[in-house]
């Protein structure tokens, strides 16, 4: 039995199921269709605006209002542009080697209209600029490092708890009004119990996150110079505030390899700590709001280590990590990214 050609291909690792050209043909057909639909829609709008009486066959009722015409026109134009530009881009990629595609992309990136590369990017390609790190001057040392954004904030749990509690209260009001008017809604009353359980769970989850957020005070990390260079020595100031007793407090300098890869339709990330340098390790640390834990430390960056690197799917990231095990608050771990430049080539920066 002849098999109907599929307009897509499936990638499993480096293996492609189906014909390699099938996916490209499917994409081209989709974008060509998008472009043609845009042309058709925009033509309808133009006909409706310019000569609605002369073309009696065109059904212009749906787009006869001023606002409707504008919305329809903008959508058609967007469809036309998206389809046309992407179609041309995909056509240019067919038959080109990966090196040629990269060279074309590099050439396109160097056009002034798109945005000329900065001096840093030209001097040290694929090395993160780290300009955000040097934006904030420190009190004790030259720069105050910015913490990596926490993966879990309290805005999400707070919104969930608030919305769910509000929904439960609205439901309660409806049930109570039903009883009040002598028309009890038993099925809604039965729903109150599971809704209340979810509401309690979301509120407890929010409280737990809030304890973690508010109980452990801010961590301040300042550094004497940035970017770092292999073989260099740097002063580091750490301050941990809050009201907590830490069983253990550790300050580390780490170099982490980070890779992104596709597994089926999922994008996965894998990390490996290539270098781990313990800068400070203390036990039984007491932190008081009046007397935060403060230490002036020293980083000796080894020679011949890899500089910071950022690609599309791979990265090498350096960071200062402050972690603590505490009671009754949950343990915490805060990362402060730094940029390491290759030796002899580091760009000189002055503190702002």
């Amino acid at each position: 039995m002849p098999r109907f050609p599929k307009p897509w291909s499936k990638k499993r690792g480096k293996r492609i199921l189906g014909h390699a050209l099938a996916g490209e043909a499917g994409e081209l057909t989709f974008y060509a269709g998008l472009f043609l639909i845009g042309v058709f829609g925009f033509s309808l709008v133009l006909i409706n605006e310019v000569a609605p009486e002369s073309v009696s066959q065109v059904p212009t009722d749906a787009i006869s209002t001023g606002l409707g015409t504008w919305i329809f026109g903008i959508l058609s134009l967007a469809s036309m542009l998206t389809g046309g530009v992407t179609l041309l881009y995909r056509l240019a990629r067919i038959g080109a080697s990966s090196e040629r595609r990269s060279a074309i992309a590099k050439m396109a990136g160097s056009i002034d209209m798109i945005g000329p590369p900065s001096d840093d990017a030209q001097a040290l390609p694929s090395v993160p600029k780290g300009s955000a790190i040097t934006e904030s001057p420190g009190e004790r040392l030259t720069y105050r490092l910015a913490a990596e954004k926490a993966k879990s904030g309290i805005a999400g749990p707070a919104t969930l708890a608030l919305l769910w509690s509000s929904a439960w209260l609205v439901l309660l009001a409806v049930v109570v009004s039903g009883f009040w008017n002598g028309q009890p809604r038993w099925y809604l009353a039965a729903l109150l119990v599971p809704f209340a359980m979810i509401s309690v769970w979301s509120f407890r989850f929010f409280l737990n996150q809030f304890r973690q957020f508010a109980g452990i005070g801010p961590t301040i990390v300042e550094i004497s110079s940035h970017p770092l260079v292999p073989g260099g020595q740097y002063d580091l100031f750490i301050s941990q505030s809050g009201r907590l007793r830490l069983k253990r407090l550790t300050v580390l300098l780490t170099c982490e390899e980070e890779t992104f890869y596709q597994q089926g339709t999922d994008v996965r990330v894998d990390r490996h700590e290539a270098i781990r340098q313990v800068i400070c390790k203390e036990r039984n640390v007491a932190v008081d709001p009046q007397a935060p834990w403060e230490q002036q430390l020293r980083i000796d960056l080894p020679e011949n280590v890899m500089h910071s690197f950022v690609g599309t799917h791979n990265a090498i990231r350096w960071k200062v990590v402050v972690s603590g095990e505490s009671q009754p608050w949950p343990s915490f771990c805060r990362s402060f990214p730094v940029v390491v430049h290759p030796p002899d080539l580091s760009l000189k920066r002055s503190p702002q």
């Binding site: 390699a20 050209l21 038959g95 080697s97 990966s98 090196e99 040629r100 990269s102 060279a103 590099k106 001097a123 040290l124 390609p125 694929s126 090395v127 292999p230 073989g231 390899e257 980070e258 890779t259 992104f260 890869y261 596709q262 894998d270 990390r271 490996h272 290539a274 080894p302 020679e303 011949n304 280590v305 890899m306 500089h307 690197f309 690609g311 599309t312 799917h313 791979n314 090498i316 290759p342 030796p343 002899d344 080539l345």
Partner: protein, 155 residues
């Protein structure tokens, strides 16, 4: 097809000049459609591949006729400061000179000559033998001759 680097050890300083020679032999000119020569870095390892071309030259058929296909051609370019070659557990960053030959029947032949881009510090003989250098670079030195890596029909 072969690519020969000017440094036997395959070590090049960041920001230094790369000089390489390439030649295509025993292929009739009528069968060649075009040739692409590029200096690039790419990643290997667990993650998806990143590839960035630093220097790119494409020779069409008429340019190859003028230059002479069997004659040795010279490639010269100034290397960038980064990214340096790296050999880690999840990521390997490899520089190479890649020669891609497009044949008239749609086939492609690729020859690749890897080299190491290192800092000035590491380019000094005493630094390369240090313990840390083993993490940055593979122990085997760069081969002098290029080799054919693949022979795939054009998609």
């Amino acid at each position: 097809m072969n690519v020969t680097l000017c440094n036997d050890d395959g070590l090049y300083r960041a920001g230094g000049e790369l000089s390489a020679k390439w030649r295509i032999s025993r292929v009739p000119l009528d069968e060649v459609q075009s040739v692409e020569v590029s200096v690039l870095w790419h990643t290997e390892g667990k993650g998806d591949e990143d590839l960035h071309v630093h220097h790119f030259q494409r020779f069409a058929e008429h340019q190859l006729r003028r230059a002479g296909l069997a004659d040795q051609q010279v490639l010269q370019c100034v290397l960038p400061a980064t990214p340096l070659s790296y050999h880690g557990r999840l990521i390997r960053l490899q520089w190479c000179v890649r020669l891609r030959l497009f044949l008239a029947d749609g086939r492609e032949i690729v020859a690749e000559q890897p080299f190491h881009l290192v800092s000035n510090e590491m380019a000094r003989p005493h630094s390369v033998s240090s313990d840390r250098a083993a993490m940055l670079l593979p122990k085997s030195g760069g081969a002098v001759r290029g080799k054919v890596l693949e022979n795939v029909p054009a998609s």
